[in-house]
């Protein structure tokens, strides 16, 4: 090997070392897709009522975008999700702060809320649907119920973790209760709020899926279950993948936000 070749080899090695994780990951995903496609095209006969392959999924995906049905479904589901999730933020954070800051509130509310959080509240879904009907209200109610708890408990933990020294610092400069809330507690709990949001997103999506599987006429969950009923597997896989992309996008986006909001904190994982 002459020196030019050697230099190129070295550069390649360095590139690989730095991006090793990313490269291996991509290789793995692409490899799997290729294997999947090739297996069902050349090796295993494809039973369309049972399975499908990437090329068909891609085609179905394109169709759904072109016909607009994809956007429509996603929009319907998003509306309910945002309403329920927004309500959870607005209700959950103050409760969490209240519990974290006042010990009596913690003693009174903690057992009750912990019991609720630990229970599969989804079990109430049929009841909620029967009561509120199949429309937006029932969906929003369930999504709210499911996603409010991560906010309550994460904010609660965040408030309890607030550095008491900082509270004393603000007090010593003459700060009042209002100052303590806005200048110490709120900034302190931002990373916990974002972490709570990350957990709540998953639970909120469960809410959407449960209501739409059970009794709905629109929405991405409904689409998935309808495609299943009519054995339209490529469409079903396409819809599932759309949901996966949205879920991953939101979750990883929030993870990034967590590190931005709190560069001074060493990350604590709670997946």
């Amino acid at each position: 090997m002459n020196s030019a070749e050697r230099r190129r080899a070295m550069a390649f090695k360095r590139f690989y070392a730095e991006y090793q994780r990313l490269i291996l990951g991509m290789v793995s995903v692409v490899g799997m897709m290729l294997l999947w496609e090739l297996a069902f095209t050349y090796v295993i006969p494809l039973n369309p009522f049972f399975f499908t392959k990437p090329s068909l999924i891609a085609e179905a995906f394109k169709q759904q975008i072109v016909s607009g049905s994809l956007w429509h479904d996603v929009a319907i589901s998003s509306k309910a999700f945002l309403l329920g999730f927004g309500l959870a933020v607005v209700v959950g954070i103050p409760i969490g702060v209240f519990m974290g800051w006042r010990r009596r509130a913690e003693y009174t509310l903690d057992p009750f809320l912990t019991a609720l959080y630990a229970s599969p509240l989804v079990a109430l879904a049929p009841l909620l649907i029967i009561i509120f009907g199949v429309g937006l209200t029932g969906k929003v109610a369930l999504i709210f119920l499911l996603s409010v708890f991560p906010f309550i408990f994460n904010v609660f933990a965040g408030v309890k973790c607030t550095d008491r020294l900082l509270v004393n610092v603000v007090r010593s400069f003459g700060g009042r209760e209002k100052d303590i809330y806005f200048k110490v507690i709120l900034p302190s709990i931002m990373p916990y709020i974002v972490a709570g949001a990350r957990i709540a997103i998953g639970r909120g999506i469960v809410g959407i899926l449960v209501t739409e599987f059970y009794a709905a006429s629109e929405g991405i969950g409904f689409a998935i279950s309808r495609f299943g009923d009519t054995y339209r597997l490529p469409d079903m896989f396409a819809a599932i993948m759309v949901l996966m992309i949205v879920a991953v996008g939101l979750t990883e986006g929030l993870r990034k936000l967590e590190t931005l909001v709190a560069p001074w904190k060493v990350g604590q994982e709670a997946r």
Partner: protein, 263 residues
């Protein structure tokens, strides 16, 4: 001479949950003159930090009197500011925003407090770091921010609770000299709590030795060394004499501890 700070018979007992009550201060007396640099030295748990917190207004004594310039102390006030051992900087604020904190809480207009904060940041030599965050700074730098913040509200009395204890030895020595320089320029009354006899003797006009818990004043030493003081003074025989005298007084309190107070 009217004392700037006067404490008479201060008593304070803590009653923590599920544990025995702890008397931190018992009949504590102290007088501090205006513009004086006074150190409080004593064994661990003798109540020195407690006294500082009472002075700051964060703790209320059970009995006794505490006054500043003749007026009773009744909570935090602008005339007193503290520099904390663990710095206490808000991690989500830049250096500038941290130094402004006291002024901000008092409702000073943004442009004015900006200027004031910048002046102090220059005073402590951190001008280049005004937009950095605390986690990007070293311990010594963080404490300088703490000092700038305390000085920003122009207090009469500066309370310092083992401010250099969390720093390494070299930074500590440097900070001590810097503190003296800043003190000469700003002429505040300083109450300095420390475990280090050397630090107390080097910095102060007077050194107060406290007894083991419950805390009371045991002895006071006047440090007659000329000012401005420099590092070389620490190597002189006079300085060592002073240290020895302080140590002898303190020693009894420490061994009394070992005999059975159980820390």
């Amino acid at each position: 001479m009217v004392p700037c700070i006067e404490a008479r018979s201060l008593t304070l007992t803590f009653t923590p949950k599920n544990r025995d009550p702890v008397t931190a201060l018992q009949g504590f007396d102290l007088q501090v003159s205006k513009g004086e640099f006074l150190s409080l030295v004593g064994p661990s748990g003798c109540g020195k930090s407690t006294f500082l917190n009472v002075l700051l207004g964060l703790l209320k004594p059970d009995s006794g009197e505490l006054s500043l310039n003749g007026k009773q102390i009744d909570g935090p006030g602008q005339e007193r500011a503290m520099v904390f051992q663990e710095f206490g900087l808000l991690p989500w604020r830049t250096v500038l925003a941290n130094v402004e904190l006291g002024l901000e809480l008092k409702g000073v207009a943004p442009s004015i407090r900006h200027e004031r904060a910048l002046d102090l940041i220059k005073l402590v030599g951190l001008e280049r770091f005004q937009n950095h965050y605390p986690h990007e700074l070293s311990g010594g730098m963080k404490q300088r921010v703490g000092l700038a913040r305390a000085l920003a509200t122009e207090p009469e009395v500066l309370l310092m609770d083992e401010p250099f204890a969390a720093l390494d030895a070299q930074t500590r020595d440097l900070m001590q000299t810097e503190l003296l320089q800043i003190w000469e320029r700003t002429k505040k009354t300083v109450l300095f709590v420390t475990h280090s006899i050397e630090e107390a003797a080097y910095l102060s006009d007077r050194v107060v030795i406290m007894t083991a818990r419950p805390g009371r004043m045991k002895n006071v030493f006047k440090i007659d060394l000329p000012r401005p003081r420099d590092y070389e003074m620490r190597l002189t025989p006079e300085f060592n004499d002073i240290k020895a005298k302080i140590w002898n007084t303190l020693k009894d309190e420490l061994s009394g501890k070992a005999a059975g107070n159980g820390i």
